[in-house]
């Protein structure tokens, strides 16, 4: 059944509808182990919908989406999601949980013991550049926007999932913090060897992080290529994005 054994995620002519409206259609592409695919496009072009097809927050209306060579509809949704880290804009943290509790949600769901959880939280906070001693027991409202996003990333990594989905994680940050986080995240992602799917409408961010860029327009994938090739693309929408860089 698999056409490419190294593909961790594969879309096969997948489409999705919500409320009778087609959100995406005719999606066919593969994502290889360890790559960072950035999904770029205007608001409402279908990027987030595509992301939700991967962790089965949505089921495809036609075609199929396979994760690790198995169609998402054959996966148990709960098991599938626990193998996939998920970071969304700053609202994603649980306001009634401390940083430590937020990060340890999935390990706790998976039944890790307390000692292992504590060690993992410390390790992750250091990894995202936060001092465990002073941050572990804070609540989200006691953090800055940048700190919250770091915690969000740490949370997604907690149970060491092979795949991470990120939906405009840095979208709400001020430009300086944003650039800083992008830089750190680019380093982090290279060292982690995770398969990452990253949604953004910021072409600068796409070039900074991507090993490949997928461009969406009106629910369709109109271009998918490595950054250098993307910069030379003849596609009208790709050129519009690239021109906005200057």
């Amino acid at each position: 059944m698999p056409t490419n054994d190294s593909a961790v995620i594969e879309f096969r002519d997948a489409s999705a509808r919500a409320g009778g409206k087609t959100m995406v259609e005719g999606l066919s592409f593969q994502i290889a182990q360890g790559e960072t695919l950035v999904l770029l496009g205007r608001s409402g072009s279908g990027k987030t919908t595509t992301l939700k097809l991967i962790n089965r927050l949505l089921d495809p209306a036609e075609g199929a989406v396979c994760v690790e060579q198995k169609s998402t509809t054959e996966w148990d949704a709960i098991r599938l999601r626990r193998r996939i880290g998920y970071v969304i804009q700053e609202t994603g943290l649980f306001p009634h949980f401390t940083v430590e509790r937020n990060i340890s949600v999935v390990p706790r769901l998976e039944g890790w013991d307390e000692a292992r959880i504590r060690a993992r939280v410390v390790e992750l906070l250091e990894l995202v550049g936060l001092d465990a001693g002073s941050f572990a027991h804070r609540y989200p409202h006691e953090l800055s926007g940048g700190q919250r996003q770091r915690v969000g990333v740490a949370r997604a990594l907690a149970a060491d999932p092979p795949i991470i989905l990120m939906d405009e994680p840095f979208g709400a940050l001020d430009p300086l913090t944003r650039a800083e986080l992008q830089r750190e995240f680019a380093q982090l992602s290279r060292s982690l060897h995770k398969t990452i799917v990253f949604v953004t409408h910021d072409v600068r961010e796409a070039f900074a992080l991507a090993s490949r860029i997928g461009l969406f327009k009106d629910g369709r994938l109109v271009e998918i290529s490595e950054p250098a090739a993307f910069a030379r693309s003849e596609n009208e929408e790709a050129r519009a994005f690239c021109e906005s860089l200057n």
Partner: protein
């Protein structure tokens, strides 16, 4: 003010008991409403299409006036028609709306991003509910409980009208006797209870607000959990204290002073003569006594032959007292299984009253005597007398009465004072009203027997008589013992002189039954 304090001190045991009953009604109904309402609210968040109809129904329930709701419940509940059961059901229904609505909107109000993150991280529906949605919605849910509790404390006062006890007992009694001290003695503890519930739950609500979490959240959660455990424990303990033992004779009364006196009299006679334990279920409104008898919840109360004949058996009024009594006795036994005891002696009927001085001056004994003077007189009648079948229209016709002007329609108790103050010259009062003697009024004899007889007599459930035959003899010791004048004096002692019913009755019985 000192009167009030004295009342509280003197009746502290009573007030404590009523407060306990009141708390019990509220605690049981709120616990039940929370146990049903919170899961229903949660269910609605899972099936939002159901939320509109369900919330609409609970909304409608809430708009039903409480007395009307109690009224609907009485026939629906059959043998549980009066007492705590319908009160708790009504309070439960009223509490549902705020609890369901706040649970639903509280959970719906949880940030969509937070919910999506929870789902995306692989939480099952239950995990998301328990770990994310309920904790974040908790302060809103508590706010619903708070509203429900405050409403319940207030509404529970009305439950006294259907025999559920509680602080409303004082309020209703105070309203009936226009005794402000009694009203306050019921209203103040109820208000304190409502404020205390409002304050405590408000504190917990604020402490549980999301983002306020921290240590304060922990203590609040602990306090909340302890509170629920304490409440459940309270309900269990009080239900033991309040639950009646089955080996008791239940004596009831309607909701006016004379009835309470007679109920107390029957109760004391049974206690003294038979040694049986008596439970008093006094001050029931409307025809609740009759319903309670039929439902087997009450064993004895005092009824009036005329009321039984017209209001319950639905016959046209007739005037021969013997005929009425015999027919009522026969039909009560065959239709309801209820036995009429011997009449107590007095009648509570319409009494045509004039000033004593006037009666003496003009030598008036009967209504016919007075009819001659009617064209120079003014009359004042209560609404009841003006509108009833056996009231003014027939009365004027039978006696050929013509007053100087159309009779003035006025409040019954006001008409006594109007007569005494010579603002009117003839009124229709109640033959056993204590005010008749107090104001020096005289009752004219109904020489043409226009008014149907309203002889008072005890009615007893046949099963109770078969089980405890000795109560018939005990009650019939009172047969013919109470004259109209004596009943007036007893009413005056309680209503006019604010004396304790138990004391007044004890005195009367010792003077009557000693020899």
């Amino acid at each position: 003010m000192t009167d009030l304090i004295n009342f509280f001190i003197k009746n502290r045991a009573d007030i404590f008991q009523l407060t306990l009953e009141h708390l019990f009604l509220v605690a049981v109904s709120i616990l039940a409403a929370a146990a049903i309402g919170i899961p229903v609210g949660i269910f609605l968040t899972r099936r939002p299409a159901w939320s509109k109809p369900v919330l609409a129904v609970t909304n409608i329930l809430q708009t039903i006036p409480s007395l009307a709701l109690f009224g609907f419940l009485i026939p629906l509940l059959g043998s549980y028609g009066i007492g705590r059961v319908p009160a708790i059901i009504a309070l439960f229904l009223y509490s549902l709306l705020p609890i369901i609505r706040n649970t639903f909107t509280g959970i719906q109000g949880v940030d969509a991003g937070v919910r999506e993150a929870a789902r995306g991280m692989g939480m099952t529906d239950w995990q998301m509910l328990a770990q994310v949605e309920l904790p974040l919605a908790m302060s809103v849910i508590i706010a619903g409980l708070r509203v429900a509790t405050v409403i319940s404390v207030g509404t529970a006062t009305i439950a006294a009208a259907i025999g559920a006890g509680g602080l409303g007992t004082y309020i209703f009694r105070g309203l009936r006797m226009s005794d402000n001290i009694l009203i306050l003695a019921g209203a103040i503890p109820a208000a304190v209870m409502a404020l205390a519930a409002d304050f405590t739950l408000g504190l917990i609500e604020r402490r549980l607000a999301p983002g306020r979490a921290k240590a304060a959240g922990k203590t609040a959660k602990l306090a909340f959990a302890t509170g629920i455990v304490a409440l459940v424990a309270f309900v269990i303990v009080t239900s033991g204290v309040l639950s009646k033992k089955s080996e008791r004779i239940v004596v009831g009364s309607k909701d006016f002073t004379e009835q309470v006196i007679l109920g107390e009299m029957i109760a004391q006679v049974i206690e003294a003569k038979t040694g049986l334990a008596v439970e008093r279920k006094f001050e029931l409104g409307g025809d609740l006594c009759h319903r309670a008898m039929i439902a087997g919840e009450m064993d004895i109360y005092v009824e009036y032959t005329g009321t039984a004949f017209t209001a319950i058996l639905k016959h046209q009024p007739i005037t021969d007292p013997r005929k009425v009594y015999d027919q009522v006795k026969r039909e009560y036994l065959s239709e309801f299984g209820l036995e009429w005891m011997e009449p107590l002696g007095f009648e509570n009927t319409f009494a045509i009253l004039v000033r004593g001085a006037e009666a003496e001056r003009l030598n008036l004994k009967t209504i016919s005597d007075a009819a001659r003077y009617a064209p120079q007189w003014r009359a004042g009648f209560g609404q009841d007398f003006m509108s009833r079948e056996d009231g003014y229209a027939g009365f004027a016709r039978v006696y050929g009465l013509k007053f100087s002007a159309q009779p003035r329609e006025m409040d019954l108790s006001l008409s006594y004072r109007a007569l005494a103050a010579a603002q009117v010259d003839l009124i229709a009062g109640n033959s056993t009203d204590g005010l008749i003697d107090k104001l020096g009024l005289v009752q004219l004899q109904d020489d043409r027997r226009y008014f149907p007889p309203y002889e008072a007599a005890a009615v007893v459930r046949r099963e109770a008589l078969q089980r405890y035959p000795q109560i018939a003899a005990a009650i019939n010791d009172l047969a013919g013992k109470i004259t109209d004048a004596e009943m007036r004096r007893l009413n005056l002692a309680v209503d006019g002189e604010s004396r304790d019913v138990r004391e007044v009755v004890r005195e009367f019985l010792s003077s009557k039954l000693e020899h």
